[in-house]
Each structure stands twice: as C-alpha cells, then as structure tokens.
C-alpha cells in the first residue's frame, strides 16, 4: 500500500495516525474553548455554587451533631485554632529565648 502523507504504511498505522490527529485537534479545540471568558464565568459560578452547597452541608451536619451533644467539625476547628494560637506564642517565646542565649554567649565571649 502506498504511504500516506503521515508516513503511515499499513492500515493499522493509518488508523493510529488518524486517531493521533483527531486527539491533537480535539485537545487544541478544547484548550481554546476552556480559555474563553464565558467558560471562565461558568467555572466561577460552578465553584461559587459548590462552595455554598458545601458550607450549607457542613453547617447542617454540625447542627445535627451539636444537638446530639457531640463535638462537630466546627468545635474541633475552634479547638485547633486555639492550639495554633498557643503554638504561635510558644514559637515567639522560643525565638526570644534563643536570641537572648546567643547574646549572652556573645557577651561572655567578649568579656575579659
């Protein structure tokens, strides 16, 4: 069989070449489609809706747990935030301490 313009020589190669071209063209077309502002708007609206629905879902779940007198996600998050604040303070105290220790060591080294 004569070679095609793609260099494919067997029917299988021709099918592969055709498929490859179709995939490349589909990829380019889709990439063009997704980079349009209208697709962006669609995506942004979708993200906003998903965010709102998720929030409503979590709030409902937390309400249910709280009424059952169980710790919900919001309670655990609040506790974790308190822990974060404590860790921040500890870190700053530790840094001050290290700085003072370094200064003391320098002064001792400089002392006659």
């Amino acid at each position: 069989m004569a070679d095609t313009s793609d260099g494919a020589s067997t029917p299988e190669d021709q099918i592969r070449a055709l498929y490859g071209r179709a995939e490349t063209e589909a990829a380019a077309a889709l990439e063009k489609a997704i980079s349009t502002p209208s697709f962006g708007r669609l995506l942004a609206l979708g993200a906003e809706n998903a965010a709102a629905l998720t929030r409503i879902g979590w709030d409902l779940a937390d309400l249910l747990l709280r009424n059952l007198r169980l710790a919900g996600r919001a309670d655990i998050t609040r506790l974790a935030r308190q822990l974060n604040r404590t860790e921040d303070k500890l870190e700053r105290v530790l840094q001050e301490l290290e700085q003072l220790r370094d200064e003391l060591a320098r002064e001792r080294a400089e002392a006659p």
Partner: protein, 352 residues
C-alpha cells in the same frame, strides 16, 4: 508488533494497566533520609542526611502550596534532593504540611513573614551558615521572591542566592486569568464559604487547562506502553501519585493569590503589602537564577519574564529550556540536562 500479537496480549496488558493504576499510591516518593529540624503549626523544616557536604552555603527548597514538596525528592534515582546531596550541598526543605479548616486564616503574609522567615532562621541555625540559597518552585518561587522583595528597613536578608523555578509573576493573559480574573468573581466570599479550598478542586482546575492531555492522553499513552512492553511503572507511578496528592489551599491565602496574581497584577506593580510592608521586587539584589520552561502552561514564560525588568541583582542568569512546568525539573531528562547546569551555577556561588 503485529495486530494479532497486540490482540493476544490485550487481556494481560489490561490487567497490567489496571494494576499500575491501582497500585500507584504504593509508589515510594520522598525516600531520601531526612531529619526534622523545626516545626510550627503544619510547617516542617527537614534537613537531608549527608556525609558529603562540601559547599558552605546551604540550600533551602520551597515548593508551592497546592502540591506536596516530595516533587523535589520524587523517587530514588530521580530525585533532585539526592542529586544535590551527591554534589556536596547541604539541603533543607520546607514542607507546608496539609492545612485544614483551622488554618483557613493563613494568608500569604503568614507564609512569607512567619513560616518562611522562621524556616530561613532555623536553616541558618542548624547549618551554622550565615547565608543560604533560597530555591522556590511555582508558587513557592513567588513566595521566595516576595520574601526577598519585602521591605525590612535596613535589616539585611540572609539570602545570598535566589533560584526561581517556573515562577508566575504576571498572571494577566493566562488561562487562569480568563477563569478568575473577572473582578465580579468574589474570591473572599468563596474563601469564606470553603474555608480551605479542597485540593482536589484545585487539581481539577489545573488539569482542566489541558483537559484531553490530562484526563485522557496520559492514560492512553500508559496503556499503549503496557501493550508494547515499553511502559515504565517505576517512573509513571511516583509522578502520578504526586500529581494526585493535593493538600487543601487555605482560603485566605488562595483569595490573596487570585486577587494579586490574576485580578490586580499587584506583584510586579509593587502593590502587595504583607503586614503593612510593601513587597517590591526591585529590592531583590541576590545572585539570581530564573528557570523557565518552554511548554509551561501553568506559569507561562511570558508571565515570568517581567522579573528581569524589575530586580536589582547584578548577577542574573536565565535558563530557558524545553519542558513543562513540572517535567522540566522532575522529568527523566532533568538529571542529565537542567540539574547539572543548576548545580554548576550554585557551586560557583556557594563558597565562603
């Protein structure tokens, strides 16, 4: 291989393909031995074990907030960390961890002014060095640039060398900007609702930039490789595992990132303020290496180039190489191409 042979091999190849996909999570990543130097909240600073340190200036690696930093140490034999250790560098890595709802209020200023600043401090303490090399990749590179461009009055920074890998500086004109650049898109409201942006969502958006390639061609090529007997699961699986491992993005940091990068163009124009201090990229005066990738669709080269018109560095080097956003540094060719070039650049600037 003839059509009959392929047909005969198809059932086995099908099972093999399924096995590769299903066992991807078992792939070994981040295997280089390391020690924890410092932790704060979710952030951890690691130091990699080495007995071959010969350069005086340690390297601190910083990755993005949307993927795990294991990309620096992807797999044995294909690890940038392993390579740097072999070249005699003292390597540290800052891992932002996996944020959760309690970290929703973490903003870019917390990452730059606290976490990164303290990681630099701890790196210097642990290594005993007075200066270091800061190497950031993707958003991590932007955080590093912000750190070096932050107005600190007369206080000098301890960064001698700054290496920025595939860094977004200007987001306008990118596909991301077409999606979220509309000022009507209220990032703060979205961040408030999500608290932390789900990693899967961010990953989905990234993959949507090249939908056919990411959702179809990758698997089609793997299947063909399996059928032909040329598939390399040892290379495919660690990368696929890393790609699918997406930590959540703290809402506040995400909102700031979208606004500054894609809605306001605030960074190159010097309008980013972190805790009241202006980030001005013109303050960057370190030895600077910028690496861009020709086929980068996440941080296109055109969005990185403005950095050269801004910085005050006298020693500026630009490596522009073929490859993608991640593939350039973590692909199979990196070990022979970009890594030796970077190592040579670093070695010249890492002596006392």
């Amino acid at each position: 291989m003839s059509a009959v042979d392929r047909l005969r091999r198809a059932p086995t190849a099908g099972l093999e393909f399924t096995n590769i996909v299903l066992t991807t999570d078992d792939a070994v990543t981040g295997a280089t031995p390391r020690e924890v130097v410092w932790t704060h909240r979710k952030t951890t600073l690691y130091r990699y074990r080495s007995s071959e340190r010969s350069h005086a200036v340690p390297i601190l690696l910083v990755f993005a907030l949307i993927n795990r930093p294991e990309i620096f140490d992807l797999r044995p034999g294909g690890s940038f960390v392993e390579y740097l250790l072999g070249e005699g560098f003292d390597v540290f890595l800052v891992d932002w961890g996996v944020p959760d709802e309690e970290d929703a209020e973490m903003g870019i200023e917390d990452y730059v002014c606290d976490e990164l600043d303290w990681a630099v401090r701890e790196t210097l303490r642990a290594s005993g060095a007075e200066e270091l090399t800061l190497m950031g990749w993707c958003i991590g590179a932007t955080l590093c640039a912000m750190y070096c461009g932050l107005d600190r009055g007369d206080a000098p920074t301890s960064v001698r060398n700054l290496v920025l890998l595939t860094m977004p500086v200007v987001g306008r004109g990118s596909t991301y900007a077409a999606w979220v650049g509309d000022p009507d898109f209220d990032t703060e409201w979205v961040a408030e609702q999500w608290r932390v942006l789900p990693g899967r969502g961010v990953d989905f958006a990234n993959k949507l930039l090249k939908p056919v390639t990411n959702f179809w061609t990758t698997y089609r090529k793997l299947a063909e490789g399996v059928l032909d007997g040329t598939a390399r699961p040892e290379a495919y699986q660690p990368m696929a595992k890393w790609v699918a491992d997406n930590p959540p993005f703290p809402g506040r940091a995400w909102s700031q990132w979208i606004r500054w990068m894609y809605q306001d163009d605030a960074l190159p124009e010097g309008r980013v303020r972190l805790r009241g201090h202006i980030v001005d990229l013109r303050r960057i005066d370190q030895n600077l290496l910028v690496v861009t990738a020709g086929a980068d669709h996440i941080a296109p080269r055109a969005g990185t180039m403005p950095i050269f018109d801004l910085v005050a560095s006298e020693d500026v080097t630009h490596f522009d190489r073929p490859g993608g956003h991640i593939g350039l540094m973590a692909g199979s060719a990196a070990r022979k191409q970009i890594w030796p070039e970077m190592s040579a650049w670093l070695a010249e600037r890492s002596e006392r």
